[in-house]
Symmetry: C2
Subunit: 118 residues, 2 copies
């Protein structure tokens, strides 16, 4: 990553923010195997319909999904397959982080145990 100017940082932050909610990630997850309409997504996620609609609007604004009206339905789809590659990478990062945190927690526990024994 080269040094980023303020505009780029703002765009970057907006993109990350769109991905920063479990509900939205769950919605994106339901779109992995192709486009779906709002009703389907609502059912698959178990969230309220209005809620799903709002999250979809947000994802659309962020450019993460595309929308296409077909009759009375609106179908949403992943705009860019790179989104999932991204999640792959982040999953790797998260795994490393959790591992590190677990390791340091273990070390701390051991030290505390030592103190207790001294």
């Amino acid at each position: 990553m080269q040094a980023l100017d303020d505009s780029a940082l703002t765009h970057l932050a907006a993109y990350f923010r769109a991905l920063s909610e479990p509900t939205r990630l769950r919605i994106l997850n339901t779109l992995r195997d192709g486009e779906k309409n709002v009703g389907q997504i609502t059912e698959l996620t178990g969230c309220g319909q209005a809620n799903v609609s709002k999250h979809l609007a947000l994802l659309f604004e962020a450019g993460l999904v595309t929308r296409s009206a077909q009759g009375t339905s609106v179908f949403y789809a992943i705009a860019d397959e790179a989104t999932f590659e991204l999640c792959d990478i982040v999953c790797g990062n998260v795994a490393r982080i959790v591992e590190r945190q677990f390791a340091s927690a273990t070390a701390l526990k051991r030290q505390l145990g030592t103190i207790g024994r001294s």
Copy 2:
């Protein structure tokens, strides 16, 4: 990306949330060329010192930076170089999104112009 369970989604969302603020991205940006203490980061970012400290605490909690106390100073560093690779990829995604949005805005403008002329 394989289908993710709820726990993974939560971790993923937390990671993205940590990256979803321009101020935090700016802080991470200052750490690209090596570790720095809070005072240095405060000066480089131009934010309030307490504010920087809180953001650093959040980044540390999220596992994105490491901290090491040296005397009265606390030095922070990027925990994982993959963080920057991630930003690279996202920058690519964002660039495509902005491009698409610009293109559709242009198309819309042209259509509106056509309507105006008809």
